[in-house]
């Protein structure tokens, strides 16, 4: 029942820089690109990626935010409602290449919801997915285009992504359930 740190601040920084390079490599028309952070931790990750992309290529990519609460498939079975955060897509998504950014890819249901939410806003040219951690256990046919780190995990474990912007510290850790509860 212990917490094991998988990625340190330095690891996260290096990984995001690598993903930024990969995004530049795979998208010839960087000007047509929009990074969309999925609330909550996808938003600071998208901002960091945009800063890296600007550093490496000189192109400033817009960062928008997306909330998926209204698109979840488990709403009627949840007693406590998720907080609905603001979706802020400033420009049209029509014809744009979108890179969705989230912290952990797990069942794939959040990403399904995120894609539905995006498509309600218009018709993007393409949607790609960047995640800091892929922990497996997919329940839908979804895969990420850019993966920071593959962390094979058991369903009884929990992947905690902490970011300075939201949690005060940069760290990815793997925790077993009982410890996770004490942590709250």
């Amino acid at each position: 029942m212990s917490k094991k740190v998988i990625m340190t601040e330095e690891d996260i920084k290096r990984t995001l820089a690598r993903i930024a390079h990969e995004i530049i490599e795979r998208n010839e028309l960087l000007k047509e690109l929009i990074l969309v952070g999925v609330h909550t931790r996808g938003v600071p990750l998208a901002k960091r990626l945009a800063a890296d992309i600007e550093n490496f290529s000189g192109v400033k990519t817009p960062v928008d935010t997306l909330d998926i609460s209204l698109y979840r498939d488990d709403l009627s079975s949840l007693d406590l409602k998720p907080v609905v955060k603001l979706t802020d897509i400033t420009a049209t998504v029509d014809g744009k290449s979108i890179v969705l950014v989230d912290d952990v890819l797990y069942t794939g249901r959040s990403i399904r919801a995120a894609m539905d939410a995006l498509i309600d806003l218009g018709r993007p040219k393409s949607i790609q997915l960047a995640v800091l951690v892929d922990r497996g256990h997919r329940e839908l046919p979804i895969r990420a285009d850019y993966v920071g780190k593959n962390i094979p995990s058991s369903r009884h474990e929990e992947i905690k992504v902490n970011l300075k912007e939201t949690d005060g510290i940069d760290e990815v850790a793997i925790v077993s359930m009982s410890t996770a509860k004490e942590g709250q």
């Binding site: 698109y71 009627s76 949840l78 007693d79 907080v83 929990e158 709250q184």
Partner: protein, 339 residues
């Protein structure tokens, strides 16, 4: 420390209160007297997100797909019923309107029987307006569906109070709602809007002054609830000029002429003379004071046309915020589990 919960099916079985889940513990919305300020903040934040949905070219999200909302109205209403209907449709719920005057209610069916029928037909949320105070509380006891009070007698109109509060919040939350001064002018006695607003405003730390002819003031209200914790603490100032002095928010109420036959007012003309909100009177309030009215407006009676359509009036904003606030409430109520 926060944890990654949203994709973890095991954790969802035992949701814990965290930054991810909204502060909200209501199974029904019957009045705002049992709302905490945190819950009202939850309504504000959710409403803000709903306004973004309303700003889209295609105003529809799949949130309440497969849910059925019934509008059960025992009293006439245009804007409240329409507002609920649109709110539910924008969230992809199915909506049925039941007007009591043309239904089996007219044949003598009791409220409890009607609710039983609606439940058997699969209603998930029942929005109810009733001429008797307390009727939605009875309804909540006799059905599994969620009840939203859309106005009961003289008692409460919680969704109107929350949309009024949200409209105030949008304009005045910086730096803070605390300490703002509100004046409610008009027929307080017969006004469920005023009653719910007194609760909502005082919960958010806003000062409330009631201004009306003494015959239209309900018994028992006063500063500190006159020692009765069952009542919200309000000030009373029957003189409109004094009441409006340095006010931040001015709420006018509709003079319910259908309820003025009992001689509580000598005449409508006298009421206009003493209590109409005119430009000259409004000038005593702060220059950026907001003017609210729950509608429908009797222009030239409780409010002069110049004020109703003036720069300080937010009456139209109230109507459009009403849809977003009701979307937020329907979303927050849409869970499956019993209280």
């Amino acid at each position: 420390m926060r944890t990654k919960q949203k994709d973890n099916p095991t954790l969802q079985l035992k949701p814990e209160v965290s930054a991810k889940t909204a502060v909200w513990r209501h199974h029904h919305v019957l009045d705002v007297d049992d709302f905490t300020s945190e819950e009202i903040e939850t309504v504000f934040n959710t409403t803000r997100a709903m306004k973004e949905v309303l700003s889209r070219p295609i105003k529809r999200v799949p949130t309440l797909r497969g849910k059925t909302m019934v509008n059960l109205f025992y009293e006439p209403s245009t804007r409240t019923r329409l507002s609920f209907e649109l709110a539910a449709k924008y969230l992809s719920a199915d909506v049925v309107n039941l007007n009591a005057s043309v239904s089996s209610v007219a044949k003598g069916e009791s409220l409890v029987d009607t609710l039983g029928t609606l439940q058997a037909l699969g209603a998930d949320i029942i929005v109810m307006r009733h001429p008797h105070s307390g009727a939605p509380y009875i309804a909540a006891r006799y059905t599994e569906a969620r009840i939203v009070n859309a106005g009961d007698g003289w008692h409460a109109h919680p969704t109107q109070a929350l949309l009024d509060l949200y409209t105030i919040h949008e304009h005045k939350h910086k730096p803070s709602l605390k300490g703002l001064k509100t004046v409610i002018i008009g027929d307080i006695m017969h006004s469920r809007v005023a009653r719910s607003n007194m609760w909502g405003l005082t919960t958010m730390g806003i000062e409330v002054t009631l201004c009306c002819p003494p015959t239209l003031l309900p018994i028992g209200l006063g500063p500190m609830g006159l020692g009765n914790k069952q009542l919200p603490p309000v000030n009373i100032e029957p003189n409109i000029e004094l009441a409006l002095d340095k006010a931040d928010i001015v709420m006018t109420l509709r003079l319910q002429r259908e309820r003025q036959k009992s001689g509580l007012l000598p005449s409508i003309r006298e009421y206009i003379q003493l209590y109409q909100l005119t430009e000259a009177r409004l000038a005593r309030a702060k220059p950026d004071a907001l003017v609210l009215h729950p509608g429908p407006v009797n222009e030239g009676i409780e409010i002069s046309p110049a004020v109703a359509h003036g720069k300080q009036s937010v009456i139209n904003e109230q109507v459009s915020n009403g849809v977003a606030v009701r979307m937020a409430l329907l979303y927050l109520l849409s869970g499956s589990q019993k209280q």
